[in-house]
């Protein structure tokens, strides 16, 4: 969270300013290498940028799901500096809940538009609440008792929670990837703009993610509870002395992260049309990477990181190979960390000073 930053900028020398400039804009150049290189290649081969455009659209919609999950990592880290490894599984269980609710609400691909919209809106709310409740419960049961313990204790507890929740997923739907009804016709073409195809799935991912991120940002920056969150992130002791209930504020943070994970869960079920007990591990890993890449503790950074990783995946899958994609993503992460350890738009946290 931005409020986690404690900046008291000393006067900088010219060389430091140059280095900072390079670290910031050099990284932008590195990030642009893939799209620019393949854009040039497409122009010379096809005479247009259709293929690159399609890669970007695919990447942005995948990235939107990652961004929503990444918000949970970044919110929690911003306020208690804990990497909540179980967050990916909260997203997974959100997805499983959403898919189960299809049947409860009787939604099928043949359901009419009105029924589908109303049903999905209700499922969105319920999936968000389910994931949020789960996340709050995890915090209450597994992390709060360890508030004063060495940092490794909650960390390993988080890893443990992750495995426990994975096994809940196995008990629920088994361990194989399971197809769920394609309620929206996720891959049906909606519109084509300059050779770039927009499908219903693409629109869904962006249309749900952007308003949610805006709501979250508004809540954190404008509301009293948001101010409490920022104050707690900045200095929990001072916040407590100022009358803020720190435990409640931390629970609220987990609640918000869970809400975002639940929304991501429904979008994922509708977009991928399959669910899997392990989906939270891989998505969580990328989402955590997105949060770190953007600057962990920074809401805008998490969203930016999610979109960047989505785009890298989209381009790499299409141009280099699906089996190379994880390596490409992490090469980018390493480069960014080496030159800008605080992430692309992250600021120094309490811990980092």
């Amino acid at each position: 969270m931005e409020a986690a930053s404690v900046t008291s900028a000393p006067p900088r020398r010219r060389s430091e300013a140059v280095r900072e400039f390079l670290s910031q804009y050099g990284l932008i150049a590195i990030l642009l290498i893939l799209p620019v290189a393949y854009g040039i290649q497409d122009l010379s081969n096809d005479g247009n940028l259709n293929r690159l455009g399609n890669n970007l659209v695919e990447g942005l919609s995948n990235g939107a799901i990652l961004a929503l999950i990444a918000l949970g990592y970044t919110l929690v880290y911003g306020i208690i500096e804990l990497i909540n490894f179980a967050h990916g599984e909260v997203f997974m269980l959100g997805s499983l809940s959403a898919a189960a609710l299809y049947t409860t609400f009787g939604l099928t691909p043949n359901t009419g538009t009105t029924g589908l919209v109303l049903g999905l809106a209700a499922i969105l709310v319920l999936a968000m609440l389910a994931s949020a409740s789960l996340n709050v419960m995890i915090e209450r049961v597994a992390y709060r008792p360890l508030r004063g313990a060495p940092k490794l204790a909650p960390l390993i507890t988080a890893v443990g929670m992750s495995f426990i929740l994975q096994n809940v997923g196995i008990l629920w739907i088994g361990a194989s990837q399971t197809a769920v009804p394609d309620l929206l016709g996720s891959q049906k073409h909606l519109i084509e703009i300059w050779g770039v195809t927009i499908t219903r799935g693409h629109l869904l991912a962006i249309a749900v993610t952007i308003p949610l991120v805006m709501l979250l940002t508004t809540f954190v920056t404008r509301s009293r509870l948001g101010k409490a969150m920022r104050a707690t992130a900045q200095d929990p002791e001072a916040a407590r002395l100022m009358g803020i209930n720190v435990d409640t504020t931390i629970s609220l943070t987990f609640l918000l992260g869970g809400l975002m994970a639940g929304a991501a869960g429904l979008i994922s079920a509708l977009y991928q049309t399959s669910i899997w007990y392990f989906q939270g591990f891989s998505a969580g890993l990328y989402a955590f990477t997105a949060a770190v890449m953007g600057g962990i503790g920074n809401i805008r950074g998490a969203v930016l990181g999610g979109f960047i990783i989505g785009v890298i995946q989209g381009i790499s899958d299409n141009r280099i190979g699906n089996d190379w994609t994880p390596a490409i993503v992490f090469v980018y992460l390493v480069i960014i960390m080496v030159f800008r350890p605080q992430g692309l738009i992250g600021e120094e946290t309490r811990e980092a000073g």
Partner: protein, 428 residues
């Protein structure tokens, strides 16, 4: 030397001795039982090791049903010996639908440690057999797979990897046979079908497993031999959320998904079908199961199924009848009587033949049915012109069947439905 130093030296020597004994001991455990002394007692154990969880569960259960039927027909007896059947699961809850390496090794060790083991039937997945075969080979336990198709398990033909197959036979003698034709034949069958369907080019995805990647290499070779252009051969990551960007690469008029259902191949086929709505889709025996073909069981949607053809190394009942194969007809009749299922999963007949071959090998050596070496030699060296439910075949010196017919299956009502026989010869 001080007393303390003496004690330290003595401790080290004792430790070294202990480790040597332990090392030799563990080695002996695995190799002693492989001698020709024979199994004591009148009970011989046949182990089956298959994935009993996840997407391959249906196929594995069909194999087991076939094996049990053959055993029942023999009244669980061969000569004076009673046959005990033990079914093991080589998959795990976390890694279902395929052979989990650790679990497979554990199953093989269990069979090795059981002094009454005379046969090991499995694995279902070639990747699993890569693990169990060397362990069983050291103990000289004969092994028959009902389904492995990877070429490198038995030969160094194109499609295999360096060092294969010798690295699977540390005892330097063959102990493994299979009743299905290898992937060089399946690849030729797939390419033959595509050529018949008018394909000009093909794009292959493989699941990077031993089976999927090996078959993909064989398809490339077969395509080259039959002048079918290969546009690409891409590996897929099981953990990827989707394959839409990768699928957008597929510009060929035909596509082969060289993988198994458990490696996320429902998603792969869905994404390729959506990205290239006119492409003809082909799958190997690794997806010939309801978890792939039946939308109600998490399989591909019906419209994608209508565009998909699958090759399996078994033929339909009608085809067997046409060939006057009495053994096959007996299988189908008895299977229906036993299980009430007139159209069993294609793998049931392979389970049946796997057990039948094992029992025939035991029967052929008479009183030496308790001698692993005699049984091994019978299986690998003397299985010639065997009249079976699959047809007349021999096991060659590598452990491969001489059968080459593949069946082409369409997807009808969510099930693989036999369409016709494909006659194909391996490339190279």
């Amino acid at each position: 030397m001080s007393r303390a130093r003496w004690l330290a030296l003595l401790s080290c020597l004792l430790g070294l001795f202990g480790m040597t004994v332990a090392a030799c001991g563990s080695n002996d455990n695995e190799s002693d039982s492989g001698g020709s002394a024979g199994i004591s007692g009148d009970t011989l154990t046949i182990y089956s090791s298959l994935p009993l969880q996840g997407t391959s569960k249906g196929q594995s259960e069909a194999v087991i049903s076939g094996e049990k039927l053959a055993l029942k027909q023999a009244s669980n007896k061969v000569g004076k010996y009673t046959i005990k059947y033990v079914s093991l699961d080589d998959s795990t809850a976390q890694n279902p639908g395929t052979a989990d390496e650790a679990q497979t090794a554990s199953n093989a060790r269990k069979a090795v440690q059981d002094k009454s083991t005379i046969f090991y039937l499995g694995e279902f997945n070639s990747g699993g057999t890569k693990v169990s075969l060397p362990i069983l080979n050291k103990a000289n336990i004969p092994q028959i797979s009902p389904s492995n198709t990877y070429v490198g398990l038995t030969t160094n033909k194109p499609g295999s990897e360096p060092g294969e197959p010798d690295k699977y036979y540390p005892a330097q003698k063959r102990t493994y046979a299979r009743v299905v034709p290898a992937d060089d034949i399946q690849a030729a069958a797939l390419v033959t079908t595509m050529k018949e369907d008018g394909c000009k080019s093909v794009h292959i995805f493989n699941d990077k497993t031993t089976y999927g990647a090996g078959l993909a290499r064989n398809i490339e070779l077969a395509a080259e031999a039959q002048s079918l252009k290969v546009e690409g051969n891409d590996g897929t990551d099981r953990n990827a959320p989707n394959y839409r960007s990768l699928a957008a690469k597929v510009k060929a008029d035909c596509f082969v998904g060289s993988g198994v259902t458990g490696e996320n191949y429902v998603q792969v086929f869905k994404d390729v079908a959506a990205a290239n709505p006119t492409a003809k889709l082909y799958g190997p025996d690794g997806v010939a199961e309801e978890a792939f073909t039946n939308p109600a069981k998490g399989g591909i949607p019906a419209d994608v199924g209508a565009r998909t053809k699958i090759t399996v190394a078994t033929l339909g009942l009608e085809e067997f009848k046409k060939r006057n194969n009495a053994e096959a007809e007996k299988f189908f009749t008895d299977y229906e009587k036993e299980y009430g299922d007139a159209s069993p999963d294609p793998y049931a007949i392979y389970g049946y033949e796997t057990m039948s071959l094992a029992l025939a090998s035991l029967k052929a050596v008479g009183d030496k049915a308790n001698d692993r070496e005699a049984v091994r030699a019978q299986l690998l060296e003397n299985t010639k012109d065997r009249e079976s439910a699959l047809g007349v075949y021999s096991i060659d010196e590598n452990g491969d069947t001489t059968l080459t017919d593949y069946g082409l299956y369409l997807i009808k009502n969510g099930e693989p439905a036999f369409e016709k026989v494909i006659k194909a010869q391996a490339a190279g």
